[in-house]
């Protein structure tokens, strides 16, 4: 017979969770550094260095610096440029004739503006009627 009173709660491995979380944070910073979406600088103070090592800021700053110094091989550069020649049609928004190379939401903005003016006018008319 099972004695349910003796059941212990499932153990939570806190260290693994914290480690995983910090790993994700570090990976996010490394990805941002690789894509160039954010610029990272190396922390200078002792506390900053400690936190930077934990959060991945130091690693991201080092990666960004190393990336600036690293060059592509001629073949890789030529191949990437070759692929860049392809114009990929952009989906979403409207294109005014030809192949869409940049999506625009201008028509939506114009229509939204006209509708907003229409409703504003109706409101004003309605309020006049009430008086």
């Amino acid at each position: 017979m099972l004695n349910y009173n003796k059941c212990e709660p499932m153990a939570v491995n806190t260290a693994a969770l914290i480690g995983g979380g910090l790993g994700l944070l570090k990976q996010k910073k490394l990805d941002q550094a690789a894509s160039g979406s954010k610029t990272f600088t190396k922390p200078k103070t002792a506390v900053g260095k400690l936190l930077g090592n934990l959060s991945g800021r130091t690693a991201a700053a080092e990666q960004q610096q190393a990336m600036k110094e690293s060059n592509l091989s001629p073949k890789a550069e030529a191949n990437l440029m070759q692929q860049g020649k392809l114009s990929t049609p952009v989906t979403g928004g409207f294109s005014f004739g030809g192949e869409a190379s940049r999506k625009t939401y201008l028509p939506f903005v114009v229509v939204a503006g006209v509708v907003a003016i229409f409703y504003a006018m109706r409101r004003r008319k309605g309020s006049r009627r009430r008086y």
Binding site: Q27, Q63, L72, K75, A76, A78, N79, L80, Q82, Q83
Partner: protein
Amino acid sequence: MSQIGVLTASTTSVFNLDFLPERFLIGSTDTDIPLSNLSVVTSGTQLFSVTAAARIIALAKYDMGTTLGADIKVPMWVKFSEGRINKQTTILVTNSGATTPAVFAASTGINSVARRGVEQSINANANATFTDFEAVFFDPTNVLRIQVDFANGFSDQYAPQEIDALFSAYNNADADGRLNGLSCIDAFSGAGEIKQVTIFNGAAVTVVLRTDYVEL
């Protein structure tokens, strides 16, 4: 980074790394290439999937600059990227040999440009077009002809023998103008940039290994 592990004889080994190395070495530069399967996945993207020893050796020869002569060993120092990419990577290799060579991974810088090497089959009596590649490798046994479109707008039909001659004119090749028995079309050789090739296949399936670069 240096040694990342050791292969087991006649077994598939998996290396989970938190980065994609630029170069991957099996054993030493004097080790016979024992792999029959090579797969690399980085951050969920399949970069390499090569399923035959002949194609892996051809790729290694292309990367290292091959040496003339059948019994001269070619180092398995395959290029995976333009520099170390700090993203989760799984490298799977099948060692079909009886030896247990060490495996090394090293880079020359940090980068975000990875190399891809994937296979595509062309059915019998069919054709396939390959665009914007670094190189394509294939067994020319069943290939009838290849249409080569250069970036300057000129295109011509090449026989498999002419493809071998074209490759060996501008690259190091084996005596037959091939790499380990496979014909190779290099898109960026002294012959001028090649934008597209169409391979017309004959009696049986031909597997083509295509390499290019991608920004991760």
